[in-house]
């Protein structure tokens, strides 16, 4: 696939221009809920697997063969109106495992692409809830995302906080 080369303008890119949405829909079509409220630091940790081998001649070879991508969503303050919070609560309540804790997320890069057609991709992740409760600031359900499967590239439009993801056409 060709590298994306459609970042325009100059200067630093604001952190809010990279957003992660969770698919909280229960029907056939996705319903995206923005993640990250009250979180001050959240990254797509690439965790590259780098192997360095030095052979008998003294030459060193470095190999990067895979990424074990992970995102820590912490602190996550549960809100009553949030469908994601309700889903996480059920993960805790039922101690869900395996495919029951897989969810699709959409990463939107507002700084790339054009208005109404931001560069975006969807990908599944295993949602690993870390704890339930927290301090007096409110019930917290921090979770880690362990990204799995292939990315589906496309474009995203955000209108009044509602995300619409359009899969890129093949070829």
């Amino acid at each position: 696939m060709a590298d994306a080369s459609f970042i325009s303008g100059a200067g630093a890119i604001k952190r809010e221009e990279f957003k992660i949405f969770a698919d909280v829909g229960t029907g056939s079509s996705p319903e995206w809920e923005l993640q990250g409220s009250r979180i001050e630091d959240m990254s797509l940790e690439m965790n590259p697997n780098v192997e360095t081998i030095t052979d008998v001649t003294g030459s060193t070879e470095v190999t990067l063969d895979k990424y074990e991508k992970q995102t820590n969503v912490s602190p996550y303050y549960a809100k009553r109106e949030s469908k994601m919070a309700a889903w996480l609560y059920n993960v805790v309540r039922e101690e869900k495992t395996l495919t029951d804790v897989e969810k699709t997320f959409c990463c939107v890069n507002i700084f790339a692409g054009s208005d109404g057609a931001f560069d975006a991709w969807t990908q599944k992740a295993v949602v690993a809830v870390q704890s339930f409760g927290g301090n007096t600031k409110g019930v917290q359900i921090p979770y880690n995302l362990h990204w799995i499967g292939e990315k589906t590239f496309g474009t995203a439009a955000i209108s009044n906080g509602v995300l619409t993801f359009t899969k890129a056409s093949a070829g």
Binding site: R15, G36, S37, I39, E40, D41
Partner: protein
């Protein structure tokens, strides 16, 4: 209702408030026992935090001085004790109101707000009067969402 109006109305619910015939804003009659006033001393921004979405939460603090002019003659130890007890009572009442969550609120988040009444002390004396001052502070959070 403004912050000042809220504070003024709330202080008026203190059980010992009835000894104050008048409760002014930015004024207390130091010559006439049985009155008081609330003196706003401004808003301080304590902290500003931004999340990854660009939403901002600020922690603010309103500060007030509560002045009360009570009767006390020179050398009147009994009267001075009664007044000192009154000053202690209002501070404990504020603490209880804050902890039990019945004090007025000023922010727009679910975080618990903190109202403190501290450092109550004799501020000044006059002809048959003593003026006491209590420092009142209200700490609250405001959340500004970026759409």
């Amino acid at each position: 209702m403004t912050a000042l109006e809220k504070i003024r109305a709330w202080i008026a619910t203190f059980p010992g408030f009835d000894i104050l015939g008048h409760f002014y804003v930015d004024y207390a009659d130091h010559a006439d026992p049985g009155n008081g006033g609330v003196f706003p001393t401004g808003l301080v921004e304590v902290e500003r935090r931004e999340d990854i979405l660009g939403n901002t939460t600020v922690t603010n603090q309103y500060n007030f001085g509560i002045y009360c002019v009570l009767a006390k003659a020179d050398g009147d130890d009994v009267g001075a004790s009664i007044n000192a007890d009154w000053v202690s009572d209002i501070q404990e009442w504020v603490q209880e109101q804050s902890i039990t969550g019945v004090a007025p609120t000023f922010g727009n988040t679910d975080d618990r707000e903190i109202v403190r009444a501290q450092n109550g002390a004799l501020y000044d004396t006059g002809e048959g009067t003593a003026t006491y001052m209590v420092q009142l502070s209200v700490q609250f959070k405001k959340f500004y969402e970026v759409i």
